[in-house]
């Protein structure tokens, strides 16, 4: 009798140990997330509601003007544009990769990943070289006699969008590819067998089934674009002001941490709001991996 009790106690202890060891392994990440995310964000929020040592909403009130409205407008416009373009360019490639035999899909994947692994700064400067007045693209077009004067491709809106699109494409393609690959080819066969031509089968069956991937990629690109700094700063030539750049300006140039923090908080809240709205329409946890 006591033997059976001892045995049950030992088994329970084993179970407890197992659970603790898993908790122990996740502890470092938990600490990092808490220290490096929640504390700074809390600190930012604190700074944004303090002025001259007193609680105040002055930093937020200052945001409500035409200049700041314009900055937010441009930020969203560019983010939406980049997201839509990345989807239009990324979907066909992700689709191709999902249909290829695994070997060839792997090779394609490497070509997507190489730029992804290359430094952001390097790629941005590379675009500068390509797009500038005497850059490769303008020179080639002029040599071919297609244009008389160089096109203004950089230090403006166009350059910003081109550069950001390039940086963002892998963020669109990777989740899309992961989602498209899980669409059972039998669905398309079934559609075809039931009488749907290739185009019809794609739009009525494959595309609806790929929507989780479309949402995942778009959300990722959109949210990353909202806070993008390096590329618009370098390729925008000062003509394109996005929220992140204004934040940098406030903090780095004017040492106005209150204003910078308020902008940061607004951007964060808006981003979370968009995330929340989208999560009403779909299961976000399903989008980011998982069943």
């Amino acid at each position: 009798m006591t033997l059976a009790l001892d045995n049950a106690r030992e088994l329970r202890a084993d179970e407890r140990r197992e659970r603790f060891s898993i908790l122990g392994l996740s502890f470092p990440a938990l600490i990092l997330v808490t220290l490096l995310v929640f504390l700074p964000v809390g600190w930012l929020f604190w700074l944004s509601v303090i002025d001259g040592g007193e609680l105040s909403l002055i930093h937020y009130r200052r945001l409500a003007d035409a200049t700041h409205f314009r900055i937010f407008y441009v930020t969203f416009e560019i983010s939406i544009l980049v997201t839509v373009l990345a989807l239009l360019l990324g979907y066909p490639l992700a689709y191709l990769m999902s249909q290829l035999p695994p070997r060839w899909a792997g090779i394609c994947l490497i070509f997507v990943l190489i730029p992804f692994w290359t430094s952001l700064l390097v790629r941005t400067y590379a675009w500068l070289v390509l797009l500038q007045r005497r850059g490769v693209i303008n020179q080639t077009l002029q040599d071919l006699g297609l244009i008389d004067a160089p096109l203004r491709l950089v230090h403006n809106y166009t350059g910003t969008v081109i550069g950001m699109l390039h940086i963002m494409l892998p963020f669109m393609i990777l989740p899309l590819y992961a989602a498209l690959r899980t669409v059972d080819p039998n669905y398309m066969r079934a559609a075809s067998n039931l009488g749907a031509g290739p185009v019809r089968a794609f739009w009525t069956v494959f595309f609806p089934l790929s929507l989780p991937g479309v949402f995942a990629g778009s959300l990722l690109v959109f949210i990353l674009s909202l806070g993008f700094y390096v590329t618009p700063a370098l390729l925008g030539g000062g003509r394109v002001m996005m929220v992140s750049m204004k934040i940098q300006q406030n903090a780095g140039l004017y040492f106005d941490w209150g204003a910078a923090s308020a902008l940061g908080v607004v951007l964060l809240v808006v981003t979370l709001f968009i995330f929340w709205v989208l999560s009403r329409f779909m299961r976000v946890e399903r989008v980011f991996g998982g069943g």
Partner: protein, 360 residues
Amino acid sequence: MSAVSAKSEPIRFEGVSKRFGTFTALDDVSLEIGSGEFLTLLGPSGSGKTTLLMVLAGFARATSGRVLVGNEDMTRVPPHKRDFGMVFQNYALFPHMDVFGNVAYPLKLRGVAKAEIGTRVRRALDLVQLSHLADRGVDQLSGGQKQRIALARAIVFEPRVLLMDEPLSALDKNLREQMQIEIRNLHETLGITTVYVTHDQREALTMSDRVVVIDAGRVVQVDTPRAIYERPADSFVADFIGESTLLPVERNGRGFSFAGMPLRLGEAAANGDFLVVRPEKLGFHDPGTEEEVNLFDGSLQQVVYQGETLLAQIRLANGLPVTLRLSTRREMMARLPEIGAPITLALHRDDTVIVPEHRK
């Protein structure tokens, strides 16, 4: 009351081959399927049975040969223009549509008027006894229900032929046996030419008008289930269908003999290498039946109890093993000697089947 009418057209394969690189999946297959027939393609995995179905459905292109349905050459017709219904192994019900949407899909593609779609979907669902599930999502269905919805979707547009690719392999045994009967009944109601693929030989025997046994991309035998089982064409069919022990025989004038003993045969065999011994065809020796049976002496080695039957392992006098299957009826069990004791087995001459060796 014909709930869903269907056409019934014959199918003909003419010298169909399919090669993937150096691998030959189908090797010069010629086959005629009668209109309204229920034909099953049966073979081990990798035998080419699924490839043959894929060629018929249009998902795989034949390397050479022709596929005809009715009088129409289908070889180069894309799948969506073939007008064939198909039930897939994993059902392939569209998860983003409900049951109604799935069954209505082929009708919508054909531009059927909305009111008529409603009627026809309901009729198809009635036929599989699931009309009450029309509004359900696909992932709320059980395996058997999915199976029936897939069937309803495949027949709702009155296809020219019905194809089924191992449709029951995901179901558990009881449900599978129930669905076999249901599919068979549905086929009788509709009279539609049906090509069914399975690797389950019992399923093939249960359901089909005729069975095509395929191995290594070649048709080995096409026959009724009974003929396939009772008169296998060669050692592969004898071995693949049902349980059997193949005992080597020698030619003996115009007949055959086993271990020096001439065999009584129900019907003469032209050539042969093996005697097919099926466990349930063997029995005890009843005196006075000597003219009708072949007798084999051996000793009982082992008995395995399996519920409704038991299996007895017997070593013949020349050392070869055979298996005897006995009903567990009391009087049968009572005739079984002790382990190690001698036993004489009888095989009726009509059940004494000689087959040639399978040529690869």
